[in-house]
């Protein structure tokens, strides 16, 4: 009997070790593909479908005539247009304090952002890296159109200062490393050229 208990204990200890090892080596889950239309892949060329998980450090690629929406844990929502490449460089989020940091890089294509809790608590903690510069956002919906290593166009979509929805008016700060411009009116855009 003792032998059986001993064997069982050893088995469960081994199982726990394996599980804990596998957990510690697995990548951190930071969001899901909310909608996948067409061909969506990650950096490992794995096909992503609606409901697929997105992990820390992932690169998401959309093919021609494809688009996707990614839902992040902090309620940031990104909508990717066709022929888009986007990398999640950093995503740290505390769901209780809503504190965190979100750094993403739009390498090419079109990405629409609806900012979430990280940006709401501290707008400086959301950074969008572009091939030619960076941008920060507050209370905002905006779209980034990036032509690989050529130029990026950033358009503020809203909300406007006179919105009747009680939403915080959106604003963007765009920098090419030397100069910074702000956009506060929906429909206005800035362009950074390489």
């Amino acid at each position: 009997m003792n032998k059986i208990i001993k064997k069982t204990l050893i088995f469960y200890t081994f199982l726990m070790f394996v599980l804990s090892t596998s957990v510690s080596f697995s990548k951190e889950f930071i969001g899901v593909i909310g909608a996948a239309i067409g061909e969506i892949k990650n950096q490992n060329q794995e096909i992503l479908i609606t409901g697929s998980k997105v992990f820390y450090g992932d690169t998401i690629l959309t093919s021609k005539a494809s688009n996707a929406q990614i839902l992040f844990l902090d309620q940031t929502v990104l909508t990717l247009g066709e022929d888009t490449e986007l990398t999640i460089d950093d995503f740290i989020y505390n769901s209780e304090t809503h504190d965190g940091n979100f750094v993403t890089e739009v390498k090419s294509g079109t990405v629409k952002f609806i900012t979430g809790q990280i940006s709401k608590l501290n707008p400086d903690n959301l950074e969008v890296k572009l091939p030619e510069g960076t941008l920060g956002a507050r209370g905002t919906e905006f779209v980034v159109l990036s032509e690989k290593n050529k130029k990026s166009t950033i358009v503020l979509l809203g909300p406007g200062p006179n919105n009747s929805l009680g939403m915080i008016p959106g604003s963007l700060q765009i920098s090419d490393g030397n100069n910074m411009v702000s956009i506060t009116n929906p429909g206005y855009q800035a362009m950074i050229e390489n």
Binding site: A35, N67, V77, G116, G160, S164, L165, Q173, P186, G187
Partner: protein, 445 residues
């Protein structure tokens, strides 16, 4: 009509066996494509005021269920209130290019937009606005007691040394602190006219100088009317100045201002103003009313917009001051040039003004043999804008962009035939204004 859209949507929701218990974001992450769950979630987020998630959810469902026009209509009904023409235009473009959009849906879209426009027009017609400005500023001045450049002055036809600074009555460098508040109420009377009422109180104190501290209450009414390219504005104002160690007075005036837009680049502005100052006799100031004066001032300004960020202006100034003491009355003529440009950190303005003042009579108690003729040069350099523009880290505190800064340098140099008035002064001002939008407060209530 917007109601009908909502009604359609509610029927749609019920038809989908809707309205379960509160749905969490985690449930959506687990089931991002579940139509019923996600529609209920969108509705729930809308009722909680979290419209960003409503929009994101509806946009996702539009991608997943492109044939479902009700989702798009629901999304459009939210976007029209977002004050973002580009969002509405994009959504309309999507809807109208969608082969699933039926004529019936197109009619519903049209009704929604007409309804929204009517609401906006109604709001526009009835728009009133009110705000309270709380101001604090500090001015440093290098010659607050107006010591002449020569440090000498005429008294009883003889040149004497001007009293040396004692930091009480005669002060050189000093600081003036201004705390004030101003309440403004405006109302659009119709599409082309509006009226403004303003009430203010400023309290000015000096660091050293005893005389000259004041509290000033003020009020004004102005009316604006647009007639074609003319923007006309008659106005009336009233000030009551209560000074420490100096005569108190009231001043009141009426004026008229018109800006004539010639084209996108050029506009002309002209104004005429009549005002009177009445001094109060009182203990220690038995002859204060001898300072009473009337002023008739006019100017013509030419503005040229080099770009949508830079404007150059030139102004001709002419005025006449009639004083109870004839030697204080004078005719004034001059010109002013200015340049204003908008930078990312704020609006930078430069203004330089030259005036010649020809006095009506000699001041016999000062110098009975010399006519007084002054030439004044004033240069003003100012930078103003929102504090977030110069200190971006304040964005998290000043979220509604309601705190404004002002930095001003002014150099005043008066050359006069009478030494007493041959004076140079420099002013450095920095100020902050917090604007409290009373519309939001009153609307919320």
């Amino acid at each position: 009509m917007r109601l009908i859209t909502y009604l359609l949507f509610v029927i749609f929701l019920f038809s989908q066996k809707s309205f379960a218990s509160k749905i969490t974001y985690e449930e959506i992450l687990d089931n991002p494509s579940d139509l019923e769950l996600n529609l209920n979630y969108a509705k729930q987020q809308e009722s909680e005021g979290n419209l960003k998630l409503t929009i994101a959810t509806l946009e996702r469902l539009s991608m997943l269920y492109p044939k479902n026009v009700d989702i798009k209509l629901y999304l459009l009904s939210i976007l029209v209130n977002m004050d973002s023409k580009i969002k509405v235009d994009l959504m309309l473009q999507t809807l109208l290019n969608d082969p699933n959009t039926t004529d019936e849906t197109k009619n519903a879209i049209a009704e929604l937009l007409v309804d929204k426009n009517q609401i906006q027009e109604k709001e526009k017609k009835q728009t009133w606005f009110a705000y309270l400005d709380l101001k604090y500023s500090q001015t440093e001045e290098n010659n607050i007691s107006a010591t002449p450049n020569s440090k000498r002055w005429w008294t009883k036809n003889a040149i004497n040394d001007f009293p040396s600074p004692d930091d009480i009555t005669i002060v050189g460098y000093d600081k003036t602190y201004k705390r004030g508040g101003a309440f403004t109420y405006g109302k659009n009377l119709n599409d082309t006219s509006s009226i403004f009422f303003n009430l203010g109180l400023d309290i000015n104190t000096n660091n050293k100088k005893f005389k000259g501290e004041s509290d000033i209450t003020s009020g004004s009414v102005s009316y604006f009317k647009a007639i074609r390219n003319h923007y006309l504005s008659p106005y009336f104002y009233y000030n009551d100045a209560n000074y420490r160690g100096q005569e108190d007075y009231i001043s009141q005036g009426v004026g008229f201002n018109n800006t004539f837009i010639i084209n996108e680049k050029i506009n002309l502005n002209y104004s005429i103003n009549y005002s009177e100052s009445k001094y109060r006799n009182g203990v220690g100031f038995m002859k204060a009313s001898d300072n009473d004066a009337e002023t008739l001032a006019s100017n013509l300004r030419f503005n040229y917009n080099i770009s949508n960020k830079t404007q150059l202006s030139a102004k001709i100034i002419k005025s006449n001051i009639e004083s109870a003491k004839a030697y204080d009355g004078y005719d004034s003529e001059g010109v002013s040039i200015s340049a204003t440009t908008i930078f990312p950190i704020g609006t930078l303005s430069f203004r330089s003004t030259y005036l010649e003042n020809e006095y009506d009579e000699r001041e016999n108690l000062v110098n009975s043999s010399l006519d007084r003729h002054d030439e004044s040069y004033a240069t003003v350099l100012s930078l103003n804008g929102q504090v977030n523009q110069i200190i971006p880290m304040l964005r998290s505190i000043n979220m509604d962009n309601s705190i404004f800064y002002n930095l001003t340098f002014k150099d005043s140099d008066v050359r006069s035939t009478i030494l007493n008035h041959d004076i140079s002064r420099k002013f450095y001002t920095m100020g902050l204004t917090k604007r409290i939008n009373l519309n939001n407060i009153l609307k919320n209530e």
